[in-house]
């Protein structure tokens, strides 16, 4: 029943051990009280009623009342004490999962969609919580109740007790078989719902593209196909569980009929009292619910097991990129690529190979290369968003892999081409890399990035932006991303084609301001345009995954034909007669 993953979660319950003991004691005592009540009923029928003894009626009645109140109270104790451990478990796992996922490298996040991770942090954890808070206890309680009641019944009148015990055999057998099929079909439904969710996601994010090409029907058809598949599989699931749940209910009822028949015969034969028969049937019926809910609880347990597997799968992924123990006292920002190379796992050709580049402290290098030449990958190697697969990258002579990650990433800051904004205030977005920045420093960074528009937002720097807030244009987002990178005052500033969405005038203003920032830091600038290249002291030409030339812009322009082709657009266009 227990999968290894679910079992491993038990360590989260350790702090609650005393409380768990209390819960189990209350549970067992509660079951005992519950079973005792029908036995009191038997005493009443066989005692006061049968023997015309009115005096014994009241104490027995009060005993039943006392037992009833006790049972209710014990149930309360169990449920109330349960909330602590159960929610503590869920919350702690979620915190740990989040912490772990934040540590996992980009390569992991490239493979896993955020929706898949979310369903682990929400749906799966809820399934685990439900099982520990409800399912597990009921499972044990029901089994305990089944066993106890069967023992009591056997003692009351063993032939009938035996009959009841025998009736549980088919239930257990069918349950086991059902479980296997149910898991298979549940997983199928889950997978298909995942596919459906992907289609929904794409239809929402790609709405402009769909609209621009008028492909509404095309998109609808593929969604409809997937939705119909979910329908078909869900119907299979309905059919399967309807058969099973019915089976679970019919067995106890048939058993009840047989008990009545044989019990009445026994009463007739004098080997059973009437009170015992009534108590027997009452107790028997008290088994219907535990047996019928067994299937439901088993399914719940199954779900929790699958969920635990999925959570563990994420928690067990080793963070491939972890920090080293070394340190730099006063970083100067001397960046070197020493034969660095990178290859995506499973890819045939490396994206980068044998990259040699030396950027001295305070120097700025522009990285120029054709579309897809690996420029972005190159910049990702410095803050270790990706790790080199050959060679090494050093800062002030230290391999970046020997530095603690926080230290490394405080030395390097990157402004990405596709800026990421979070649903938080502008201020919080800007201070991403430096929580202790002063207002003056923030103003200065905004000034450099020409992001003064933030002051015109409805609530200024407190305005919430991002998906859940105000939406900004591509150019505005890029400027915020730039301001964010500038604000963190890094020794090494990486600009990954950060200015592509700006118009010419704004770009000129930003470049002017950036010159001062870059004068104080080591810079790596990915550039498509000559204007951006001019920010740099020297240029590295990236071609077929390696750096073929390093030099000054004018020199490369004069000497390297490929470079000329990449940057000197007007001259070539004129030659080809494209311009008129």
């Amino acid at each position: 029943m227990f999968s290894a993953s679910l079992w491993r979660l038990k360590s989260y319950l350790r702090p609650y051990a005393p409380r768990l003991v209390l819960i189990w004691l209350a549970t067992i005592a509660g079951i005992a009280a519950g079973i005792a009540i029908p036995l009191v009923g038997r005493e009443i029928i066989d005692g006061p009623i049968a023997h015309r003894d009115a005096g014994a009626l009241l104490p027995l009645g009060l005993l039943a009342l006392g037992l009833g109140v006790t049972e209710a109270f014990l149930t309360f104790v169990r449920r109330w004490s349960q909330t602590g451990p159960v929610l503590g478990l869920e919350t702690a796992i979620r915190d740990d999962l989040y912490r772990h996922l934040q540590r996992l490298p980009m390569s992991f996040h490239n493979e896993w969609q955020s929706g898949q991770l979310l369903s682990r942090a929400t749906t799966d954890l809820s399934a685990i919580r439900r099982f520990f808070g409800f399912g597990l206890l009921f499972l044990v309680m029901n089994i305990l109740q089944l066993i106890t009641v069967t023992v009591v019944l056997l003692q009351m009148y063993w032939p009938l007790g035996l009959l009841v015990a025998a009736s549980s055999v088919p239930i257990v057998l069918v349950s086991l078989r059902f479980e296997r099929r149910y898991i298979r079909i549940s997983r199928l439904v889950q997978d298909q719902q995942g596919d459906l969710a992907t289609l929904v996601e794409e239809s929402a994010l790609g709405i402009r593209t769909i609209r621009a090409f008028g492909r509404r029907r095309h998109v609808y058809d593929s969604y409809d196909g997937s939705a119909t598949k979910v329908y078909d599989t869900s119907m299979d699931k309905v059919r399967l569980s309807s058969r099973f749940f019915t089976f679970l209910e019919v067995i106890p009822n048939v058993t009840l009929a047989l008990v009545l028949l044989l019990g009445a015969l026994a009463v007739g034969g004098g080997s059973l009292t009437l009170g015992t028969l009534v108590a027997f049937t009452t107790l028997m019926l008290s088994l219907v619910w535990p047996i019928a809910s067994l299937g439901y609880i088993l399914a719940m347990g199954q779900e929790a097991m699958t969920a635990a597997d999925r959570v563990m799968e994420a928690l067990d992924t080793e963070p491939g990129i972890t920090g080293g123990a070394g340190g730099i006292d006063v970083p100067r920002g001397h960046l070197r690529f020493e034969g660095a190379g990178f290859r995506f796992p499973g890819a045939e050709r490396p994206v980068l190979h044998d990259v040699w580049l030396d950027v001295r402290p305070g120097e700025t290098v522009a990285v120029v290369g054709a579309t897809g030449s690996g420029k972005t990958t190159l910049t990702a190697l410095v803050p270790r968003l990706l790790d080199v697969t050959s060679g090494r990258v050093t800062i002030d002579g230290h391999d970046v892999r020997d530095l603690p990650l926080t230290e490394l990433r405080s030395v390097v800051a990157t402004a990405f081409e596709e800026p990421t904004l979070f649903s938080m205030s502008v201020r919080e977005n800007l201070m991403l890399g430096r929580g202790d920045a002063s207002e003056e420093e923030m103003e200065a960074a905004i000034e450099v990035a020409q992001a003064g528009f933030v002051h015109d937002l409805p609530w200024g720097l407190d305005t919430r932006i991002g998906e859940q807030g105000l939406s900004l244009s591509g150019g505005q987002r890029q400027r915020l991303a730039l301001a964010r990178a500038v604000l963190s005052k890094p020794r090494i500033l990486v600009l990954d084609d950060t200015l592509s969405a700006l118009d010419v005038e704004t770009e000129a203003l930003v470049e002017e301001a950036l010159r001062q920032v870059l004068a104080e830091a080591t810079g790596v600038v990915v550039a498509h345009r000559a204007s951006t290249v001019l920010l740099a002291d020297k240029v590295a030409l990236l071609r077929d995954g390696t750096i073929t030339h390093v030099g000054r812009h004018q020199d490369l322009l004069a000497e390297v034909p490929e470079y000329r082709e990449l940057l000197a657009q007007d001259a070539d266009l004129d030659q080809e007669g494209v311009l008129r």
């Binding site: 009623i49 449920r79 996922l101 969609q113 309905v238 009534v278 205030s425 919080e428 998906e467």
Partner: protein, 613 residues
């Protein structure tokens, strides 16, 4: 649903301030919402009317059979046993047992039919709901999507639909069974013995009051839980999608802090909810057990006086068991019902949104498109007081290539979006070959006009699939030809599996430039009469851009084109340049002429030449 509202300052300062959350509405609107949800519900149930009637009949039979069993036990004890004790044989006992067996089988059979049928209806409703909402979202205009955001669209179609699925799958079954058991048992108890029955039913009003209290409390707690989990989800998803920025800026500790705070808040909400149940369930049990004790006492006394039989007493004890068991399910059911209700409210809201850019009732046919675009007194504004385009008249003759330049916010993209009918003008008309765009059906319009933007969305699937999105029926040869025409063939052939390479998580492994090339190929394959390029080459490197431009010269020769670009290199292939400023066209003419003049374009051109250095 209005988008304006009073600002809500969050207790958590980091979230910042935003307009009121549209998902939460003031109380006075909720009545309207309930009517709207009910209308949708009625609409969804209508096709299943007959099946539902059958379902009701079946469930009545099923419950009657189930309820009869304890009664039959009573009959067995009272009239089966005495004849045997008197030595008159077991004939009547056997009859009773046979009837019990029959009842059990009838119950089992009807129950199975019920589960299957209700499952079928439920799944049918879900499928219909999914189809309807999805299709409706696709019909709604882009301005709606910009307001509503993709995150909400996704949660409507996933978590909200699942909340309703939950109700249909388990909630419905349990509540129907619970209610029928409750009512049926109450009636039977009275019929069995009026006095004892009344004693057994005395706690019923208490139970109902208690349940009402629980329902009220749980709806408050439920709301709190929902709000708490929403914050957890948003923060989680954004951290994971933005993990690159999170890691690059060492945001992890602060994120962890925020997350643990939100998670703790969620835990407290959940604790409140679980504690509520922890009070409710034992409370129900207490009422049930007290009733059992009272029945034993009073019933015992009555039996002692020979006013009820032992069989009746046994039946009472059996029924009281059944009476209180389903209450377990009712507490679960409230949560399911509430989340389904909230989901239904939101879904019905979406379905009642009218597409602002509506399809015409009687579309005008447009058999052959020449591609003449005409703006007649067009005005456009998102907000009334702030017109983006004050008043615009413009004629683009068929086949002309027009470049539009101007600073950010000058209205270039708005102009383009009006031609593609992403929006309708606030006043005036946009005409294609003399036909108002509002009078064209979507198919015809999209065949004629295609717009390529900066954001190049790639769908999951292969590169070829993505190019073919421009024309689903296109052959592989046509796909390759389109890619070759704009110079994308080379890089695609270099991919691990060429055209059959999966693009992965939103085109993750391709660079921005490569994605743009694929998007270009897609547009060329679509072969429209009017092509709009809005900053479509901004991510390309110079050689790729040059290739695209060379291709454009041939491709645009026989069609109308509108090119928006920051880089003037793209503009050079145009026959005509429009310079826009604050929504107005301030210069209009052939580029050579404008360059030679002393206007704004000449200035822009000089600045651009200098930037090339």
């Amino acid at each position: 649903m209005t988008t304006t509202g009073t600002p809500v300052r969050e207790p958590q300062g980091w979230r910042g301030v935003a307009a009121e959350n549209r998902d939460d509405l003031p109380e006075n609107v909720s009545l309207l919402l309930r009517t709207r949800s009910r209308r949708l519900l009625g609409d969804l149930l209508r096709p299943h009317k007959k099946a539902i009637a059958l379902l009701v009949a079946i469930i009545l039979v099923s419950n009657a059979a189930g309820l009869a069993i304890p009664y039959l036990v009573k009959v067995g004890i009272d009239s089966g046993i005495p004849p045997m004790l008197r030595g008159q044989g077991s004939g009547s006992l056997l009859t009773v047992v046979a009837v019990i067996l029959t009842a059990a089988l009838v119950q089992a059979f009807t129950r199975q039919v019920f589960l299957k049928l209700s499952g079928k209806i439920g799944q049918g409703i879900l499928l219909e709901l999914r189809r309807r909402v999805f299709d409706h979202f696709q019909r709604l205009s882009l301005s709606f999507h910009e307001r509503y955001t993709s995150g909400r669209v996704i949660s409507r179609l996933t978590s909200d639909v699942e909340a309703i699925a939950e109700l249909l799958q388990s909630g419905f079954d349990s509540i129907v069974t619970a209610v029928l058991t409750l009512v049926g048992t109450a009636v039977l108890l009275i019929v069995l013995d009026v006095h004892l029955g009344l004693v057994a039913l005395i706690p019923l009003p208490v139970l109902l009051l208690f349940t009402r209290w629980f329902r009220r409390e749980s709806s408050l707690v439920y709301r709190r839980t929902r709000e708490a989990v929403a914050l957890v989800i948003v923060h989680f998803v954004e951290s994971m999608t933005g993990i690159r920025a999170v890691q690059a800026f060492r945001r992890e500790p602060r994120n962890q802090e925020i997350f643990e705070e939100l998670n703790e808040n969620y835990r407290l909400a959940n604790r409140q909810s679980m504690r509520l149940v922890a009070l409710f369930m034992p409370g129900v049990k207490l009422i049930g057990n007290v009733t059992v004790a009272a029945v034993l006492l009073y019933g015992g006394w009555l039996a002692f006086q020979d006013e009820v039989t032992v069989g009746v007493l046994a039946a009472f004890l059996l029924y009281l068991r059944q009476f209180y068991e389903p209450m377990q399910e009712i507490s679960q059911f409230y949560n399911t019902l509430q989340s389904a209700g909230a989901a239904l409210e939101k879904l019905s809201g979406v379905l009642e949104e009218e597409p602002e850019v509506a399809e015409p009732a009687q579309p005008v046919p447009l058999p052959r498109v020449a591609g003449e675009v005409r703006f007649e007194g067009v005005e456009f504004s998102y907000v009334k007081e702030m017109p983006i385009l004050p008043r615009l008249d413009l004629v683009v003759p068929a086949g002309q290539t027009v470049a539009v330049v101007g600073a950010t916010g000058a209205g270039k993209t708005t102009l383009a979006k009006l031609i593609a009918r992403f929006y309708d003008p606030t006043a005036g008309r946009v005409l294609l070959d003399g036909v108002n765009l509002r009078d064209l059906d979507e198919e015809a319009l999209r065949r004629a006009v295609v717009m390529v933007t900066q954001e190049n969305f790639l769908f999951s699937g292969t590169v070829a699939d993505n190019i073919r999105f421009g024309r689903p029926g296109a052959s592989m040869a046509e796909v390759v030809a389109a890619a070759e025409a704009i110079g994308a063939h080379e890089f695609i052939s270099g991919l691990p599996e060429g055209y059959e390479t999966e693009v992965g998580k939103r085109g993750g492994r391709m660079s921005a430039g490569q994605r743009q090339l694929v998007a270009f190929a897609r547009a060329f394959l679509a072969d429209p009469a009017v092509l709009i390029l809005d900053e479509a080459t901004s991510s390309l490197d110079v050689p790729s851009e040059r290739l695209v431009q060379r291709a454009l010269r041939t491709i645009l020769a026989d069609r109308t084109a509108l090119i928006i670009a920051h880089r003037l290199s793209t503009v050079e292939i145009a026959e005509r340049v429009l310079v826009m400023e604050a929504g107005r066209i301030v210069e209009d003419g052939p580029p050579a002429l404008l360059v030679a003049g002393s206007g704004r374009y000449a200035g822009l051109h000089r600045a651009w030449l200098e930037s090339l250095a």
